[in-house]
């Protein structure tokens, strides 16, 4: 999945030595990496199956450096790929051989915690969890908590519109932002949003959130902080079929309860997690649900009773409430360790990120099972059940090139299944490079053309992270030739080559 100029568009030829000399002359204090051995550590992000050594790596520390670098890059016509902590799972920060990798990791200061307003102003390289840690003395926290929150940067969270296990109640990154400072491709500063709850003009902050670094470089972020909920309780319910567990999820929501977390794991996933983390999961269950409720004590108790009754009615074979915080942490530890746990039962795994309407869960799980047999690869299912975000984990051995190809093909088929039932190819990991072909299943040529129009408004030379997120029509024509989109032949008007 390397950048393919034939399908993804030509990239300018740049004289590396001349560019390096110009940057060093203009920005003597900017840390630049240019030797092969220094560049290699940056060849991939969290999706390590895809690797490309960048032409140059820049590690700016000041806004002035970012602005000047962007001005030079624009002038020279060099592509720029922005990167935070590099934990993304979709190859959104995969470098380009002919491009600069702009690493924002040194923008790592928390500039201000305003406890009165309930906001934090931070630089993009600050780690997600570090914000909550800095806010904790004030009884506040930053709600979105992607599973990589120890390591992932808030700038990357903005670029991907990151989620986590608490989205149903607390929203995605976009719901927890107030203001972004941006450097445009020309090196100009823009402020999107404000410290007020709304801002005149178009909601460009929402547009930039999740745009995968393709519209501008985020240099400062103001996030909302929430009061830490005084109480959290967790129920662990076992089911003898995934259908019943799925029904319980729908019934909990229909009963008017919004859990702060509602997670499902199937038998393969829960057994792997149990062997790894000893969370106390029932190994004989076909599926388990973890349901967390938070808020003030009396509300949480009330909702716990309600959820328990719903789970019983839906046919839970066993329901346990964590007796104390230690047990609650243990219940969660299993879920949070699900990915590494699956990593222990298979040489490699490939994590998918489709979303579906919850009612389609039984159908989609049955479809995944059939595909799993067809491709002869095991699939473990971990599921943010409350918001319909599935993480099927495809087990394979990367040393066997046939297995790797089967895993990729199976993953693509699973995502197309999600689209077919009205879902999306990505709930929180982003399109990046990984799902660039599946974009052609979710969107038609007119919609993709519209995305390109938006891109052109902010980056007409397409220098910011080219090749990610939005496929070219050429790519869709070639890839899409194999597929039928919404019952129609794809791109009938487009010339084939």
């Amino acid at each position: 999945m390397h950048y393919d100029e034939r399908l993804d568009g030509p990239l300018p030829e740049v004289d590396k030595a001349a560019l390096l000399a110009r940057l060093q002359r203009a920005l003597p204090d900017l840390r630049l990496l240019h030797r092969r051995e220094d560049l290699t550590p940056y060849e991939c992000d969290g999706l390590s199956a895809y690797r490309t050594v960048p032409m140059l790596v820049a590690l700016p520390e000041t806004l002035a450096q970012v602005k000047a670098l962007m001005r030079i890059a624009s002038d020279e016509g060099v592509p720029v790929v922005a990167r935070g902590a590099g934990t993304g799972l979709s190859g959104g920060a995969l470098p380009l051989e002919k491009g600069i990798l702009l690493v924002m990791a040194r923008f790592n200061r928390i500039l201000e915690i305003d406890a009165e307003a309930g906001t934090a102003r931070v630089q993009p390289g600050v780690r997600n969890l570090a914000i909550s840690q800095a806010a904790a003395p004030y009884g506040l926290y930053y709600a979105p908590d992607p599973s990589s929150q120890i390591a992932c940067s808030i700038g990357g969270n903005v670029a991907e519109n990151a989620g986590g296990v608490h989205c149903l109640k607390y929203g995605l990154t976009v719901h927890n932002l107030l203001k972004l400072e941006i450097v445009t491709v020309d090196g100009e500063c823009l402020t999107l949003g404000s410290d007020a709850l709304d801002t005149p003009g178009f909601d460009l902050m929402a547009l930039f959130t999740g745009s995968e670094g393709m519209l501008g470089i985020v240099t400062e972020i103001t996030v909302k902080l929430l009061p830490a909920p005084p109480r959290a309780k967790v129920l662990l319910a076992s089911f003898d079929s995934v259908e019943k567990a799925g029904q319980a999820v729908a019934d909990i929501i229909a009963a008017g309860v919004i859990p702060s977390g509602l997670e499902m794991m199937d038998n393969l996933a829960l057994c792997a997690a149990e062997d790894f983390a000893h969370a106390g999961y029932p190994r004989d269950a076909a599926a388990i649900l973890l349901c967390e409720l938070d808020g003030v004590e009396s509300d949480v108790d009330e909702d716990c009773q309600r959820v328990r009754a719903v789970m019983e009615n839906a046919g839970a074979t066993d329901i346990r409430q964590a007796r104390d915080d230690a047990e609650r942490q243990r219940f969660w530890a299993g879920r949070k360790a699900a990915f590494p746990a699956v990593g222990r039962i298979s040489p490699d795994y490939y994590c998918m990120d489709g979303t579906i309407p919850k009612r389609e869960l039984p159908k989609v799980l049955a479809g995944i099972e059939a595909l799993s047999r067809e491709y002869d690869l095991r699939v473990a299912n971990v599921f943010h059940a409350g918001d319909g975000n599935m993480h099927p984990l495809i087990l394979f051995d990367a040393n066997d090139s046939d297995q790797l190809h089967r895993a990729e093909a199976l993953g693509g088929r699973i995502l197309e299944l999600c689209v077919a039932v009205g879902g999306s190819i990505t709930g929180e990991h982003g399109v990046g490079r990984e799902k660039i072909n599946q974009m052609c299943s979710q969107f038609d040529a007119d919609e993709i053309t519209c995305f390109h129009a938006v891109k052109a408004a902010f980056d007409p030379q397409r220098l910011l992270n080219p090749g990610k997120n939005i496929p070219t029509l050429n790519r869709c024509a070639e890839f899409g030739a194999m597929h039928i989109h919404r019952g129609e032949l794809p791109f009938p008007d487009l010339e084939r080559f």
Binding site: L168, A196, V296, S424
Partner: protein, 351 residues
Amino acid sequence: MGDRTEALLERVRAARAERRPLCPRGTGGKSHLGRPVDGEALDTLGHSGVVHYDPSELVVTARAGTRVSELIATLAEQDQMLPFEPPLFGGDASVGGMVASGLAGPRRPWAGSVRDFVLGTRVITGEGRHLRFGGEVMKNVAGYDLSRLMAGSFGCLGLITEVSFKVLPHPRASRSLQLRLTGEQARERILNWRRRGLPLSAACHGGGLLRLRLEGNQGSVDAAVAEIGGEPLEDAHYWQKLRDHRLPFFDGAKPLWRLSLPPATPELDLPGTRLSDWGGAQRWLKSDADADTLRQLAASAGGSATRFSGEEPEDTPFHPLPAPLLRYHQTLKARLDPDRIFNPGRLYADL
């Protein structure tokens, strides 16, 4: 009630061919907002109806011409709601207008904005194509987020034909109180209650009274009422009247201004009568003061000022944008609506 997509597409294509601007219009309750546009009214009310509603998914999809009152009633049958409490100026609103204006009611600071609850939109673009962005799922980060961009765009980027929303269950308990406090006392109390997570869902100060609404489960609401004290709010319909601008405050000939400010902003010395909603983040002002004065006051506090009513012709009722930001608004508009057929000039003269 029905699907009039084809008729709407035809209107847009014809307007495009003749370079005739269109002014999308629902019930017209917000037509006084923004600059006047010299264009043909495009009535969306015929394109109406709830297309899909599944309470256990917390998702509803409705066509742009659907009356918001009807949508609210449909949700209420299942004990669910649009959490952002959209205003029904003049008695009703359309789903398209609700999203295009992005206006929200008293619950906004605690529940979120219109944009926060948009999951997907279908839009007819300036190219005369009917496109779909986002969808009916809670999490969806494929492609650029054009569906949320439509919220608050005042119909300048395309014709919204259908919107999917996240909805929430109605709170089980709701109590409203009033307390006699100065503006500054009210501000301090609200900040304190907010930081401690009390279940506030509305807070409006005016005329020496702080009016509060508390919503949640019974236990937390009862505990908060016991702690806060005060008296029960006299007017049972106060929050709807505030939402829809039917309080006596909103009467009278003086122009109405809306100041959107950081929530912790202290009392400002504003020339005119004031009503401070959203716990202080949205301040209504009836005032004859000139626009520059009010805009400077709002901007120096980190916010903005928008003229909401008033007959005097004025170039920009919306707070002006910094030059680079306006330029990007213009390029985006030019890319999505190259023939300038959707509400040209409604937000700003050169947009």
